[in-house]
């Protein structure tokens, strides 16, 4: 249990679960805004043609 690699993988496993959970919410909200901006920009470009 005290093997350095056991500690290493335990920290990384728990860190990955937390990271994925956080990333889904954080990026989920921000990327949703990015899509809205992208569609707005593409619509304007279409109107300009």
């Amino acid at each position: 249990m005290s093997h350095p690699f056991v500690i290493f993988w335990t920290i990384l496993t728990l860190g990955s679960i937390a990271w994925y959970g956080g990333l889904v919410f954080y990026v989920g909200i921000k990327a949703g805004r990015d899509i809205r901006e992208m569609i707005k920009s593409l619509s304007e470009a279409q109107r300009d043609e």
Partner: protein
């Protein structure tokens, strides 16, 4: 079948949502630039979601779980190296910065500016060959997951995967990168929730401490099944070993800078800063990409070890989905299947579009005497996406893997990664590099991986030997070829 009505409702709702979102984007496609690189309008967070969704396929989950089953948590060292590679490239801008500045749609296009049109064509051929062979096993492995996780009859595999590919083809052919970005976003959300929930469930089912002690017992030979490699120390000779890890370090830096599906996000980014930020922020994601499915594989090992061994017909590849099918409750299994379908679809769509763009941009266009009209260019690219889909169906059904899935993917990818990486580094940072060196690097870099593929089923070749040799041969080809000619044959980019 282990699925209930609730599970089916979750899956159908998810599939319908993806199709609707993908189809809605087709109205914004005005030409090949929108179709292939989303009009270069992608911002950083959408880039992260898309990159993460594309690079985490069902095939990824299968091979990383197989690594976890065979090598314990030590198998996830590849993910640590990948994260390091992405972070360092994102920090320094190594290769991706000059590549984005060049304003090209594909990597081979840069080679025409730096070397010659023929080098671009040959590089495009290698990129497509390596990419398509690599992608060839995606459907089969994805189907294996569904068969063993849902209890679906094995005879349905081809039909279910054909249907799923058909769905992906509809929105990819019509909406290109714009549809891929929006569906990737949905798939990123569903997949992220599914991965987190499944990982927590596996930890609860096996028990964190029990997982560690059971893997240690299996390594010591005091368990229902023997673990051949050290479950925690990747440097141990029974695990990955130093040679394999060194090859993987070089390989992952090359992947981060040359893998066309990843680079297509760099090229679709608004600017260099966005691309570099996307790399840095996505880096840690790659640790979990290997570690969490690896945890499921290790959990499957402990579970079946406690049962006295693997059931008949189950292998190290199919143990994880069978295990999940046994332990996940109603509703959750539907969510996990939807998440895994999301992983498969986002990867398939991204890869279909990428390789079609390379065929169009680097193999077909340079051969045409008269340029096609914008309408015909779009039609051609869409037809290529469709053609690759048909190829996948047939290739995926008859090819048998010579070793484990990860080694096959690494070696087929290496057909072009080693040589294209060498061309990029030399072309961007070595003024003496020329097209003679580029030809030599392309051909010599493909020898090792092709030998592994052709002779690997008869004469076992260590993947680190085949892969490492490809990098060494490509570099030697570039240096000797370039120095053999008195001066560079074309102007710099």
């Amino acid at each position: 079948m282990t699925l209930t009505l609730l599970d089916w409702i979750i899956i159908i709702l998810y599939l319908a949502g993806c199709l609707a979102a993908g189809l809605a984007m087709r109205r914004y496609v005005r030409g090949v630039e929108d179709f292939a690189v989303a009009g270069r309008e992608m911002n950083v967070n959408l880039g992260i979601a898309s990159l993460a969704a594309t690079e985490m396929g069902l095939v990824t989950i299968m091979y990383t779980a197989q690594l976890g089953f065979e090598k314990g948590l030590a198998g996830a060292m590849i993910g640590v190296l990948m994260a390091f590679a992405f972070w360092i490239v994102g920090r320094t801008g190594f290769i991706i910065e000059p590549l984005r500045f060049a304003g090209v749609m594909t990597i081979p296009e840069l080679f025409e500016k730096r070397f010659s049109k023929r080098v671009r064509w040959l590089a495009g051929l290698f990129v497509v060959l390596g990419g398509l062979l690599n992608m060839g096993i995606f459907l089969r492995l994805g189907g294996e997951f569904l068969v063993w996780a849902t209890g679906m009859p094995p005879g349905w595999l081809e039909w279910v995967m054909t249907g799923l590919l058909g769905l992906v083809l509809i929105y990819t052919v019509l909406g290109g990168m714009l549809s891929v970005l929006v569906t990737d976003y949905l798939q990123f959300l569903v997949m992220g929730v599914g991965i987190v929930v499944t990982s927590i469930f596996v930890l609860i089912n096996v028990g964190g401490v029990d997982l560690i002690t059971s893997l240690q017992a299996a390594w010591a030979g005091n368990s229902g099944m023997q673990l051949k490699g050290h479950p925690f120390n990747p440097f141990h000779e029974s695990s990955l070993g130093w040679g394999y890890i060194l090859w993987m370090l070089v390989f992952q830096i090359a992947v981060a800078t040359t893998w066309q599906t990843t680079i297509s996000r760099v090229l679709a980014a608004k600017n260099v800063l966005t691309a570099k930020r996307m790399y840095r922020r996505t880096a840690f994601y790659f640790v979990g990409r290997f570690l969490l499915p690896g945890l499921w594989g290790a959990g499957a090992f402990v579970y079946f070890s406690n049962q006295g061994g693997l059931p008949e017909g189950i292998t190290s590849l199919t143990a994880m989905p069978h295990y999940l099918g046994l332990i996940l409750p109603v509703g959750l299994i539907g969510l996990v299947i939807a998440a895994m379908l999301a992983a498969e679809m986002s990867t398939d769509s991204g890869y279909l579009l990428t390789w079609a763009t390379v065929i169009y941009n680097d193999l077909v266009m340079p051969c045409l005497k008269n340029p096609l009209s914008p309408k015909n260019r779009l039609l051609l690219t869409r037809s290529l996406v469709l053609g690759i889909g048909v190829f996948l169906l047939f290739y995926g059904l008859w090819y048998e893997l010579p070793g484990n899935a990860w080694d096959y993917l690494a070696v087929t990818g290496n057909i072009y990664i080693a040589s294209v990486f060498t061309l990029l580094v030399a072309g961007l940072y070595w003024p003496r590099a020329n097209s003679t060196g580029a030809y030599a690097a392309l051909i010599m870099g493909a020898i090792g991986p092709l030998t592994f593929l052709i002779l690997g089923q008869k004469y076992p070749i260590a993947p680190e030997i085949a892969g490492g040799a490809a990098f060494a041969l490509a570099a030697a080809g570039m240096i000797v070829g370039s120095l053999a000619v008195s001066k560079p044959t074309t102007s710099n980019a």
